[in-house]
């Protein structure tokens, strides 16, 4: 083993020496991050104690760079994985390693790769530890820049689908290519080149050069893009003839002129029967468009999304967050206040039509309405509804599933609706106030996360109103105190809730916080539960240590429209992270 290690290190060292400047010894950087949890019994909230009583998720990254060469590993531990974490994370070992070389023209990476094509609708390999997502591609990637403004990427490899004392890869593999072209940058490069040759040959009439210069400097910025991704998985189904290679492609057009931007992406996926779509042969289609305008003190963004049958996984049978190849963004605001973030989080669907409008405006400082420091108003509206689809006439082609046309929608079939307003105002040197109102329409037949007192799924729409007062008071240069009062009212589900948070921070090292989430409107007097959680944190430079003790409610924990279910727990949690 040691011999092997010596050989590898000698190899790495020579490789790095070959490409590095002679006086550059290289650098080692990394991070350490873990979450330890102890589980206590609490029958009132159905907290389950796992046989091991404690759990830990731990990660150590090491990255070595020397000149144009870089290599890295990540050591991961799940002993056992935190409760509610996907079941495919087990044991100790290396879950990620790579080596790469990069210069002005090309970048080559072997090993685990994170990559995103366009908005990610065709391919996105990424990691989110809080959600238990890591679908890195294990293989090779080549990225080249033939000239300024053009980037071409090719990847080939297996997809990480789990961890069992080491990396677990998919059986199948994917291949993908992507191109990004900035017209303005490209013509700028062309102009530079022409000017160079002019200097050499001393030709006048630089007509072509003038044209190139004009394009490169025009106020309208044009970006084009396209990608093609294909996955391969063997067909072992005894009954169905399944496509072993499933291709997906997309076209992109981005325009920008001063404060206005307009981004578009269209995606097509060939038939891809899977558990997600109940093995129908209908192809998938998606369109994403974003139009925005902003200037000092004002911003407006309008978004539209149509996705139909856009689940794309390396393994047809996989579910939840495992083995995903692409990324379907939720067009909703990511809420951070406890009640808004945890009770009714939107779970993005594979087929949906979504709209979002986001407006922000800063009332000038010194004006009557704006006050001494100015006031910011942010308004957000998000709507996700069903696409318009009709079942195929029986006998004609039952395996096709259904028919749907691009842009077809059924606005009356609301999956989720969110209207929210936030006003932020600094009152004076010491006080800052933030007021929010949030209104949800949450279709639980679609989202399937709300459960009643007996643990049964709630049916139909849940209508909820949330109000939040967030007040921050600076005691002096180092100490400040922050208070949050949140209230949620609803006729459906578990009735009304309130959350209070008090946080005291002493810069630069300490923070103390207490949160109480209280289900005061529950019909059952015994279930008017307080979820009380206390935390202490110590921060020193890049180190961050947090300890908390208390109850946490079961529910859907979501980031970016991707969710995992977290069981109820009562116990002690320690998290630590550092970067070096």
């Amino acid at each position: 083993m040691l011999k092997k290690a010596a050989l590898i290190s000698a190899g790495l060292f020579m490789f790095s020496t070959a490409f590095a400047q002679p006086d550059d010894p290289g650098q080692i950087h990394g991070n350490v991050n873990f979450t330890f949890q102890q589980y206590g019994e609490d029958t009132l909230i159905n907290a389950v104690v796992p046989p091991s009583e404690t759990a830990i998720n731990a990660y150590t990254n090491l990255i070595y760079t020397r000149g144009k060469f870089s290599t890295g590993v990540r050591f991961e531990s799940y002993l056992n994985a935190l409760q509610g974490y996907p079941p495919n994370f087990v044991g100790n070992g290396i879950g990620y390693r790579y080596a790469s070389y990069k210069d002005d023209f090309a970048e080559i990476t072997i090993g685990n790769i994170y990559e995103q094509f366009g908005s990610g609708l065709t391919m996105r390999a990424w990691e989110d530890r809080t959600l238990g997502i890591d679908n890195s591609i294990d293989g090779a990637r080549l990225k080249i820049k033939p000239f300024k403004g053009l980037i071409l990427t090719g990847v080939y490899g297996k997809v990480r689908v789990g961890f069992n004392n080491g990396l677990v890869n998919s059986q199948g593999f994917i291949k993908g290519i992507n191109g990004e072209l900035s017209i303005n940058e490209a013509f700028g490069a062309l102009y530079d080149k022409q000017m160079e040759s002019l200097e050499n040959n001393d030709i006048d009439t630089p007509l072509k050069a003038t044209f190139a210069k004009r394009i490169s400097e025009m106020p309208l910025k044009i970006g084009l893009g396209g990608s093609f991704v294909s996955k391969y998985q063997k067909d072992e189904d005894p009954a169905l003839i399944l496509p072993e290679n499933v291709g997906t492609w997309s076209y992109r057009l981005n325009l920008q002129r001063k404060g206005i931007f307009w981004k578009n992406e269209y995606v097509y996926k060939i038939n891809d029967p899977s558990t997600d779509n109940r093995f129908v042969y209908k192809p998938g289609e998606a369109f994403l468009s974003t139009l925005g305008y902003s200037t000092k003190g004002f911003g407006l963004v309008l978004e539209y999304k149509y996705t139909d049958n856009m689940s794309y996984r390396i393994d047809r049978g996989q579910q939840l967050t495992i083995g995903t190849i692409n990324f379907l963004p939720a067009l909703t605001r990511p809420h951070t206040y406890n009640l808004a973030a945890t009770l009714y989080p939107y779970n993005v669907q594979f087929s949906e039509v979504a709209y979002q409008a986001n407006l922000s405006y800063k009332i000038k400082r010194g004006s009557k309405l704006g006050g001494r420091y100015g006031t910011t108003i942010a308004v957000n509206y998000a709507l996700a509804t069903s696409i318009d689809s009709t079942a195929t006439i029986s006998n004609s082609n039952p395996l096709y599933g259904y028919n749907a046309d691009l842009f077809g929608q059924r606005l009356e079939d609301v999956f989720f609706q969110d209207f929210n307003v936030t006003i932020t105002r600094k009152l004076n040197k010491k006080n800052k106030l933030k007021l929010s109102y949030i209104n949800f329409v949450y279709n639980n037949d679609v989202n399937q996360s709300a459960r009643d007192n007996l643990g049964n799924e709630v049916h139909g729409n849940i209508y909820a109103h949330i109000g939040v007062i967030d007040w921050e008071h600076k005691l002096n240069k180092k100490n400040s105190i922050r208070m949050e009062l949140q209230n949620l009212t609803t006729e459906e589900h578990l009735g009304d809730w309130a959350t209070a948070v008090i946080e005291f921070t002493r810069s630069p090292h300490w923070f103390f916080a207490v949160m109480d989430q209280y289900n005061y409107g529950n019909e059952d007097p015994e279930r008017k539960i307080h979820y009380l959680l206390g935390s202490v944190g110590y921060i020193k430079d890049a180190h961050r240590l947090t300890m908390s003790y208390g109850r946490q409610r079961e529910g859907l924990f979501c980031v970016g429209g991707v969710c995992r279910t977290v069981p109820a727990s009562n116990g002690f949690t320690v998290t630590y992270s550092t970067t070096f």
Binding site: V73, R124, W126, G166, S294, G297, R544
Partner: protein, 169 residues
Amino acid sequence: MKKIFTLFIALATVGFASAQTMDEANSKLPSIDLKTLDGETVNTSTFSNDGNPIVVSFWATWCAPCKKELSTIHELYPDWQDETGVKLIAISIDNTRSSSRVKPYVDTEGWEYECFLDENSDFFRAMNGVTPPLTFLMDGEGNIVYTHNGYSSGDEDELYEKILELVEE
């Protein structure tokens, strides 16, 4: 398990061999491509500030403490710049879901920082980020001299003291 240790030992050996001649200050930014808010590609190796300090701060539109940190510094920024010539580079790690909200947010707040998008967290990962806000301070030669994880009111004073230390050296 054996394989793992082999790799670990190998890496540690290389690191150790290299680190022997490496002093604390020799710690630079990795070279990663980012997008400007206008959609153009820029490499982190082009970050410069005429030999003055640079602050690199990772944030996201969904990260409340990040926004608080950058808004607080925004008010102090003209003074900081006058006194030390420091430049702040704000890197948003918003993904596709919220990245289109970055430019409008920056404009509404009137931030004068250099802002870039890191949509798939490539730069954040290369900088060993775990959670934002994460702030780095670099001296005039581009060496990272200070790192801070998280933000609470008053932390900007500590950052500014570190900047002043660099300028006074």
